[in-house]
Symmetry: C2
Subunit: 430 residues, 2 copies
């Protein structure tokens, strides 16, 4: 069996999955807040299939950035505290009002977001203006126009948001490949668009294998265990933006596994198998997929050493369907996903954050690791910022994994680290 | 209007929302990989309502950690390379087999995960054993039992996963308040449980306000804009684990806003309003909610200065329903959410990662900020690890926000920073 470094295998998985980036079907989603609220899953981590061009200017009209007075800046060019300039007050402009105009020698009270009137080219914030009815308690408007005094000169365009200053009509609103989050959905709404084309999610056929696995809730015979890998990897794949069909193979017979693949491949983009890849007799994944060209290798990491990948002939897949095989212990399978598949899927989904958050933290306790392997341990972060291992290195300790918020990386060549030594830590709680 | 620091307002929002942690209804979700795959939204960021105790031992029986030979360790205590110990080979034990037994003087080939036979207390990995049929090409079993030779002494329990070594029956499987991710769903499945009680999601009544806002896709009159806040905050709230009902209020009339709250409050846990909080005339949120006890204050931050919060009397809420009011510019609203509401919601959802990932990065360019305010700017991270501002500070630049992957914090008292100066950066791409 071929031996590979962790980086070599990660690159091989990335390369195998790369065609899923550009070969995917496109679907149109309707955007509105009520649709997002009613069917959140349809909007989670969607990736734009094409560039989206702005159908209009944002903002769509010149408007005020402040509550204040719309003025002609030139009229106030001489204003100082000693020589204020007084203007007649026009009708107040509110957000939602249609676009009005002001005459020379006037100022219009204007609310934030309200359209700047024709003729005005600056807004003076309310706190910098002295309206006449505040000058003295005895002064009243008595039917004559109120006035407002300004004691400084605004710059042209000051506190004005010009039409198209965020994005102009015909400019790129969002580029192809953008992942749609709150701000992206918002700017699409702001532009008035109600539909966009997104990439269809990557559809994964997930096959947990093992003669011994049983559906949770059923009765176990001695020697049998509940299938946890289907739940673990369904959720992990969904979190990475995929859709999943989970069809376990509870048989040692290669024909049964091949039948599941034959049935599921036409509506899948990727097959992930779990288990059945050891060196033993009756390893269903090796027995079934080895002859079809899946290459099995041993990656210098722990857990998760036995890995496989390849393209397998299948209906609906002229170049074959990509298959990635994980080892069967739940911790091995989830670590395999973290190291090899998650980054590739995140990249394909257009995420700008492909990797986990990496911290460099001191160990709370000393640790030994196999010198020839990259060991990944489960851990939590103490309040003092030290990283503390949770459970041992063994790959059956899923309960320890579930109590962890971090992974600790002990690279090839390390062998031993003392308490206080810094190590690379991935935060996995998100 | 009261003035508050950013930290003071964050603490006030956290305190207002704190009762949502323990006063929420509980609902039962059924767990299986096929349900997770079919209805992913039901399993996203769920929070355990109670401690979950393990109904059985994990693993449920002693089993082998390796492909190898199940042996009695004491029988091999004298084995050395010069004086190997030879044992008779028993029938192979596969994963899924029932629990067997070995007699003294024998070793049973055993596969990873297969049940350790009664009598055995250690597993010797296959690569450390010398089976008789590998000794010489001419040797055959000839009907007599094959033998296997061992040249080193295994420790007791070596490569054995003891029943209950991950978690024992009756031990805590997951504590109340745990957020359910892949590993947590997996360990529940491994235990055989198919239902757990989770907290009902926090139900948010989201009310974007403004005489000028219109539903995207409809025709705009001059002076009107499309409502982007409903989409922005619906998605942001869903990402934080909530459910949302988005009912915009496109009126300046306080009675209209109060009607929406009256209608929506009985099935909501929290009201968030957007807009209508400036100092101007006809500010619908201030006009409607000020008299009902919502306290409006000015927070020393930019954007997002005008903030409000309080408990408002409503049917179904004996202590009043919590109301948080954001300013209306989309950038202000989303920054308000990031600074005040998202951390509080994440904490309530049981996330161990309440805050965004914080980096300390050098600025790509110099920047000025208001010395008396905490300014939050939108930014991206250059490949060389410097942080580059995207767009200006103005709160209408939602397009710039949508092109950003980070927020830059320019704290009170800063005023100016040079290119290369380190600043606090939040990654917002996830």
């Amino acid at each position: 069996m071929a031996s590979r470094s962790l980086d070599q295998h990660a690159a091989a998985v990335r390369q195998l999955l790369a065609p899923l980036g550009h070969d995917r079907a496109v679907e149109t989603i309707s955007l509105s807040a009520s649709r997002i609220a009613a069917a959140p899953d349809a909007y989670r981590q969607r990736t734009l299939a094409h560039d989206v061009v702005s159908p209009g200017d944002l903002p769509p009209f010149d408007n005020s950035q402040m509550d204040g007075y719309a003025v002609r800046a030139a009229e106030l060019s001489g204003a100082t505290p000693d020589a204020g300039v007084r203007l007649r007050v026009e009708t107040q402009i509110n957000a939602g009002d249609t676009i009005s105009a002001i005459e020379p020698g006037t100022a219009a009270p204007i609310m934030t977001g309200a359209p700047l009137p024709a003729g005005a080219d600056a807004v003076v914030p309310i706190e910098r203006a002295i309206p006449s009815h505040f000058r003295s308690a005895t002064e009243t408007d008595g039917g004559s126009p109120l006035t407002v005094e300004f004691t400084s000169a605004p710059g042209a365009d000051e506190f004005v948001r010009r039409r198209g200053s965020d994005v102009a009509r015909g400019e790129l609103l969002l580029p192809e490949g953008s992942m749609l989050g709150p701000a992206q959905l918002g700017v699409i709404a702001a532009s008035g668009l109600t539909k966009v084309d997104v990439l269809r999610r990557i559809r994964v056929l997930l096959i947990a294998t093992g003669h011994e696995i049983r559906e949770p809730g059923t009765a176990l015979q001695p020697g049998q265990i509940y299938d946890s890998n289907s739940a673990v990897l369904s959720q992990a794949l969904i979190d990475a933006g995929c859709t999943v069909v989970a069809w376990p193979c509870r048989s040692d017979d290669a024909a049964d596994l091949l039948h599941i693949i034959e049935k599921g491949a036409p509506t899948a983009d990727l097959v992930i198998t779990v288990g059945g890849v050891s060196a033993g007799a009756r390893e269903v994944v090796r027995d079934a997929l080895g002859p079809l060209g899946v290459e099995f290798s041993h990656v210098a990491m722990q857990p998760g050493g036995p890995q496989g990948l390849g393209l397998v002939e299948a209906a609906g897949h002229p170049s074959g369907i990509p298959v990635v095989t994980f080892p069967g212990n739940p911790v091995s399978a989830l670590i395999s996903f973290e190291m090899f598949v998650r980054p590739a899927l995140r990249r394909l989904a257009g995420s700008t954050r492909v990797e986990r958050e990496v911290l460099r933290l001191p160990l709370a306790e000393s640790v030994d690791s196999p010198v020839d392997k990259h060991q990944v341990r489960r851990a939590s972060i103490d309040t003092d910022g030290r990283v503390r291992l949770v459970g041992g290195p063994s790959s059956h300790l899923l309960h320890s994994y579930a109590a962890s918020t971090a992974l600790v990386h002990l690279p090839v060549g390390l062998g031993h680290a003392d308490a206080g030594d810094p190590v690379d830590v991935w935060r996995i709680d998100d």
